[in-house]
């Protein structure tokens, strides 16, 4: 057996070679060992750089959200000023829940405060009902939405195991935002039907 010190050197060397290769593969060659003249790399400078980068990203986020908001508003304007929005939840089988994200837009000039989401009963063509109590919203209360801002809300609808198949329709409303209501649609299918649809899609593709 080699001397312990030789084995340690082997470990040191082998590990260095392996990680050198990996870093090259990732395209992450080391940056300059020392900062260029005039560049301060002190902890305070790093913190300032990180804070500035955070601020830039936050603004980018706002720009993205504003784009989402205004593109929606333009769509509504082109559509004749309709404020009704259509929201389709994923198809669900009885005994499960359907989940999605709903965006709340405050298109008014003033901030909207103390908002609460609530959903109506959903009804199908045979007058079967998914009760309004089956809705869950996260967050279920929103303190404030500034003018022109949007907010995502996680939406869950619990569909009981005795629910009949069919397409159910209803509405989601937002208290204190009278113009913001959404028409909701969800299809409930029996497990066997869902499986058959999946097979059909597989065959078609």
């Amino acid at each position: 057996m080699s001397e312990p010190v030789e084995i340690r050197e082997l470990g040191f060397r082998a590990a260095s070679e392996v990680v050198d290769r990996f870093i090259r593969l990732m395209g992450e060659e080391p940056r300059q060992a020392s900062p260029p003249a005039g560049e301060d790399r002190s902890a305070a400078f790093r913190q300032l750089r990180a804070d500035l980068a955070r601020a830039v990203d936050a603004n980018l986020d706002l720009v993205r959200r504003a784009f989402d908001l205004y593109s929606g508003a333009i769509d509504r304007f082109l559509g004749g000023g309709e404020t009704d929005r259509h929201f389709k939840l994923p198809t669900v089988v009885p005994g499960h829940q359907a989940s999605s994200t709903l965006w709340i837009h405050n298109t008014a000039a003033a901030a909207a405060a103390s908002l609460r989401l609530h959903g109506s009963d959903l009804v199908n063509h045979n007058r079967k009902i998914i009760p309004g109590a089956a809705w869950r919203f996260e967050p279920d209360e929103i303190d404030l939405v500034p003018p022109g801002a949007s907010l995502p809300v996680a939406v869950n609808l619990e569909v009981r195991s005795d629910t009949s198949a069919g397409i159910y329709r209803g509405h989601v409303f937002v208290t204190n935002l009278p113009g913001e209501y959404v028409t909701v649609e969800i299809e409930v299918v029996q497990p066997a039907d869902q499986e058959q649809r999946w097979r059909d899609r597989q065959q078609a593709s």
Binding site: M1, S2, P4, I7, R8, E9, L10, G11, F12, R13, A14, A15, S16, E17, V18, V19, F22, I23, M26, E28, E29, P30, R31, R41, S42, A43, R46, Q47, R49, A50, D51, A53, R54, D57, A58, L60, D61, R64, G95
Partner: protein, 345 residues
Amino acid sequence: MAGSATSFVEDVLASHREQMANVLTQYLPNREPRRWLYDLVATYPSRVGKGIRSGLCVATCRAFGGTTEEAMPSAAAIELLHNAFLVHDDIEDGSLSRRGEPTLHRQHGVPLAVNAGDGLAVVGLTPLRDNVRALGSVMSERVFDEFQMLLHRTIEGQAIELGWRSENVLELTPTDYLDMVLLKTCSYSTIFPLRIGALIGSWGGADLGPLTRFGFYLGAAFQIRDDLLNLEGQPERYGKEILGDLYEGKRTLMIIHLLSVADEDERAWLDSFLSAARGKRSPEQVQAMLKMMGDHGSIEFAREFSKGVAAAAREAFDAAFDGLGPSEDLRFIRELIPYMLDRDL
């Protein structure tokens, strides 16, 4: 000195685990079907693990100037994905115990355990979505890219290790072992927890190359220590089946060394031992293998080799955290190096 370093690291980890347990509770679904899915999904996260991976992510984020809240969703995702890997690893390895209790597939059977492992992986995605709220969409996308790399590298490493066993590959060197460990263990245990923590804490300003280097050395020392503990650890502390790696025919550094120094007869015996299915390896054969490792100095070889890797980690530490002010988080990360060599769990 080593004792106080170990106790400092264990204290930090204990406090982190407590915080993480509360966070994980929010992510683990509390709904039907509990008996066949969600109770199983919660089983490994509820058993006390080390918490090194998520703790490293949070500490690195804070050392680079970020906050616990900013790092927590990513740390939770690391923890949940780690547990998902463990469920499937235990099945692939035929392992008997995990964190001091029977493995999930022994408790519930393979099909339900495989599905619960899938469930944990799915649950592990939820905190990444929550990153959008904690970090905004721009940084969340960068963190998500890191997670994608983490997941790819990990399954690639696992495939290599399983392939070696499946095809009874014997011509292996310590470099082959390190290449595999980099992917299988270091990626999700150290390299990416460090990178993700630094990325968030510095908000993209950290040089990730030196962190990758340090993370690899740290993770490799961790894995070699884990392999040694499997041979000589205390069952009640270690939590896994002692000598399980030998029953599984795992290509550890000790086995690779033994294969390189064994004479012709011993090598023929090793070939037959390693090519057998797990259930065919008897306790007598495993003891003979252990004795052979001791006689040929393979255990000592791995111990010394890991010290060399840890020395590389000490050297890489300064470059990885260059210019950061002193903090308890930085101390914790530095003390992890001796901890990896000394830990007994």
